[in-house]
């Protein structure tokens, strides 16, 4: 039974902590940074499939 008390207690702490964290994050609204980083893999820094190049290079703009 001891272990059940420990488990329930830890679970409640995590749930309460998680809710506090969630509401604080929503209130801060600071998701621009994450948005910018998550776009990194989508940069046009590789060839599109089927680009049959004669030269060895294809310069691309990268912001």
């Amino acid at each position: 039974m001891d272990v059940l008390i420990v488990l329930v207690f830890i679970s409640l702490v995590l749930v309460v902590g998680g809710l506090i964290f969630l509401f604080r994050t929503l209130k801060e609204g600071d998701s621009e940074h994450a948005d910018r980083l998550s776009l990194l893999p989508l940069a046009k820094d590789d060839l599109a499939e089927g680009d049959n190049l004669n030269s060895q290079s294809k310069p691309k703009e990268n912001s």
Partner: protein, 784 residues
């Protein structure tokens, strides 16, 4: 724009990516082909053609190592080099190091392919490479690390994307695991003994083995998933914030889970419980990552119909989810009691490697190769064929192993109404698996067929394209003020984490009343941390983790600390303890080791043990009897930790294709062992064990055994100088006892042959020399 920020022209090194990709394909075919061959040997023992270096025990390490380190390893390096350059907007730091890494890794693979069939092995699963090759692995890994971190240093993107975090954790963790698990003393250029023995060696090995799965087959591939999935889906990752939680939770928790491979063994119970608890906890971050990967496809699920790359990714991530559910399930003690040593584990492992690793790599290669060669994929139809044939193969393989594993586990534990074993003959269980072994062979062959189709498709794509190195203009980043590396490491989240971890450890060792206080303190700290980290700004509205993403050194140090904690907490106490050794008070009232405790192996038995390791017997036979009635009835008294104290390395095994051998000593006559190793079917009809006739023609070298005993003393085995000096006569006298016994039954044999050494070792298993009389062996009447 500041004057310090400049536009730079960058040419990516895609040549190294192409090289690793093609190497991955070639070694993938080899590794899977060897897998099919050994699967065939399970059904048809003749499939080794009577050649010792094609036997199951020698080829199985070749299959596992080729699949893990050659196929997946080369694919990881290809993907890491491709994505790192683009995520950091810079070329790899050194072309020389890149190619040194490539050729060094291929040389290691070639060396493994030669040494394993020759029986040159350490006898530890997934760590079989002999010490000179281990040194080469360390050197090549350091080359990779220097090249990677040097590239981080010259990057043109300040913040490190989540994929890079996973690569960092892979590099530092594999270095730690590999070095610690391979601490060994050489006895010759091709042989060594690990410094750890028995229980300690088992814990270190499975700390390594489990985390080789975690940090070689999981974290780098998760990094690749976080890069290549958004690429193919043309969508950003579902939740960047979730990826932060996913990363830190996964690497911290994963490292603790190793002992789940040793449940109900002689490993101390506290270590087993830690392994089980952290394995169950691992489910949460694993599924967080899986959902993050799958939900990246939101709004793009239509691609699943048309794009084979997405198909491979979705099935791969789904298999990741299945495996990371199954892993925690199998780590629950009562489930492990049924599943351990059975094919369920093999099914679980292959769900991960064939499904998660194999299909993710396939998707990446299908996506990357056309772009690396400036052309289109040769045939989408062939890619579709690969997908469906491979999926069917996987399902056949995994389902047959699940069914075989569960039924075999139930078979072993079945007791009759009289309370005794319902199926006392082990071979009956093997007979019941025959059909499922065939299904496994068919499934594996189908998977290999799909892979061959991909290989042809990719090489045709390469043939019609032209190697292209992408060039691009990038804008560097401006250095912004912020906390330095050491301030970040001593930041609030680290302090809070340290307090919570310390309280958790205290909780583990405290009593009930103290526990309540510790829990209350822990709750306060957790809530304070969540509130505190949220409001603690490190200046300019930037959070601690955002700064950390721009500081590779701080990030690496914190990741290293996160993975070290679990290993230290589990391994250090176990290496220090001596409580497993029976003690007694002598005539002077001083506590000394009991004389009835385990004694070192005789030189001939040690030689036999080394042969047992060389032949890979541990791939089919365990040496660990668990404390269950059905096991003690079948094999004898359950195993105790002190029995293995001189076992360098431990040989507990992880699979029972054959029966446990921990107490086989004295169970059968010498003649039985002789007949069994010459022709296993003569004593055990329907056995699928290979014959070991070559042991008859090879002799034990006295000089070699003296050198090995000398090294054994350095790792803690109490051989005296006299023991070592008299090794030659000792080998001859013990061998002659066995040879004379065989001669009385019409079998002439060289007393110094490897066959005699192997018999001496097997007859010793489960018994100290004090329990063996001079008239050994006693049982000569039965040969079945």
């Amino acid at each position: 724009m500041s004057a310090s920020v400049q536009t730079k022209h960058v040419v990516y090194d895609d040549g190294i990516v192409r090289a690793f990709t093609l190497a991955s394909l070639i070694f993938g075919v080899v590794g899977m082909l060897v897998g099919v061959i050994i699967a065939a040997q399970l059904s048809f023992w003749q499939a080794n053609f009577g050649i010792s270096w094609l036997s199951f025990g020698r080829l199985r390490p070749l299959h596992t190592n080729a699949a893990i380190f050659a196929f997946v390893g080369n694919a990881i390096f290809a993907g890491v080099y491709y994505s790192t350059q683009r995520l950091l907007k810079t070329r790899l730091a050194s072309d020389f190091l890149s190619w040194l890494h490539f050729w060094g890794w291929q040389a290691i693979i070639a060396a493994a392919a030669i040494t394993y069939p020759l029986g040159l092995t350490q006898g530890k699963e997934y760590a079989e490479l002999i010490w000179p090759i281990d040194l080469a692995v360390v050197v090549v890994w350091v080359v990779f690390a220097i090249n990677f971190f040097w590239t981080l240093g010259k990057r043109n993107e300040k913040n490190l994307y989540v994929a890079i975090w996973f690569y960092i954790s892979t590099i530092v963790t594999i270095a730690v695991l590999y070095i610690v698990n391979n601490l060994q003393l050489p006895t010759s250029l091709v042989h060594s003994y690990p410094i750890f023995a028995g229980v300690q060696d088992a814990l270190v090995q499975w700390w390594y083995g489990h985390n080789a799965v975690g940090f070689f087959l999981t974290t780098p591939l998760l990094g690749l998933m976080y890069y290549f999935m958004p690429k193919a889906a043309e969508r950003p990752v579902y939740s960047y914030r979730l990826s932060i939680v996913h990363f830190w939770a996964l690497i911290f928790v994963y490292i603790w889970a190793g002992p789940h491979h040793l449940l109900y063994t002689a490993l101390p119970d506290w270590a087993q419980s830690l392994g089980m608890i952290f394995s169950v906890m691992l489910w949460a971050p694993s599924w967080g990552g899986m959902l993050n990967g799958l939900l990246t496809l939101r709004g793009a699920w239509d691609k699943l119909r048309t794009d084979p790359v997405i198909k491979f990714y979705v099935v791969a991530i789904t298999f990741y989810g299945m495996s990371t559910f199954e892993g925690p399930l199998l780590s629950v003690k009562s489930v492990s009691a049924l599943a351990h040593y059975t094919d369920w584990i093999i099914g679980h492992v292959h769900g991960g490697t064939l499904g998660w690793n194999g299909f993710l790599v396939a998707g990446i290669i299908y996506w990357m190769v056309p772009r690396l060669y400036g052309t289109k994929l040769f045939s989408k139809g062939l890619a579709e064929a690969h997908f469906w044939i491979g999926t069917l193969g996987m399902l056949l393989y995994v389902v047959s192993m699940w069914v075989g594993g569960v039924s075999n586990g139930l078979f072993w534990r079945a007791l009759g109404p009289d309370g005794f074993l319902q199926y006392p003959d082990f071979i009956e269980g093997l007979r019941a698996l025959r059909f499922l072994f065939l299904m496994r062979l068919v499934g594996g062959t189908l998977y290999l067929t799909g892979f061959l189709i991909m290989t042809v498709n990719i090489f045709m794509t390469v043939a019609r394209g032209k190697a292209v190195n992408v060039e691009t203009d990038v804008v560097g980043f401006e250095k912004t003020p912020g906390p330095n590396t050491w301030k970040l490491i001593a930041g609030a989240p680290m302090v809070y984490s340290a307090i919570v971890i310390a309280l958790s450890i205290l909780l583990g060792v405290s009593g009930v009343i103290t526990s309540a206080a510790v829990l209350a303190a822990g709750a306060v700290v957790v809530v304070a941390a969540i509130l505190g980290i949220g409001v603690t700004r490190q200046g300019q509205g930037t959070t601690w983790h955002r700064f950390l993403e721009g500081k590779p050194l701080a990030f690496t140090i914190i990741a290293l600390v996160a993975i070290l904690i679990g290993g230290l907490v589990e391994i250090v106490p176990l290496v220090m303890i001596r409580s497993e050794v029976p003690m007694m008070t002598n005539a002077e009232g001083v506590m000394v080791e009991s004389p009835f405790t385990q004694q070192p192996y005789s030189p001939l038995e040690l030689a036999g043990r080394d042969i047992y390791i060389r032949e890979g017997c541990y791939t089919c036979h365990s040496q660990q009897i668990r404390p269950f009635r059905h096991e003690t009835l079948r094999y004898g008294e359950y195993s105790r930790a002190e029995e293995f104290r001189y076992d360098h390395p431990f040989q507990w095994g992880s699979k029972r294709i054959g029966p446990d051998l921990a107490r086989v000593g004295g169970k059968y006559a010498n003649l039985w062992h002789y007949l069994h190793m010459n022709d296993p079917r003569s004593t055990s009809p329907d056995s699928n064990m290979p014959a070991y006739m070559h042991l008859m023609t090879r002799q034990v070298s006295t000089d070699m055994m003296m050198a090995r005993m000398e090294v054994q003393t350095k790792v803690g085995v109490p051989y005296t100088d006299e023991d070592i000096k008299s090794a030659g006569p000792n080998i001859l006298s013990q061998g002659t006892l066995i040879a004379d016994d065989l001669l009385t039954q019409g079998v002439p044999i060289d007393p110094q042959s490897e066959m005699v050494a192997m018999i001496a070792y097997l007859q010793r298993l489960g018994r100290g020399p004090q329990a063996i009389t001079a008239e050994e062996p006693v049982a000569t009447s039965e040969v079945n």
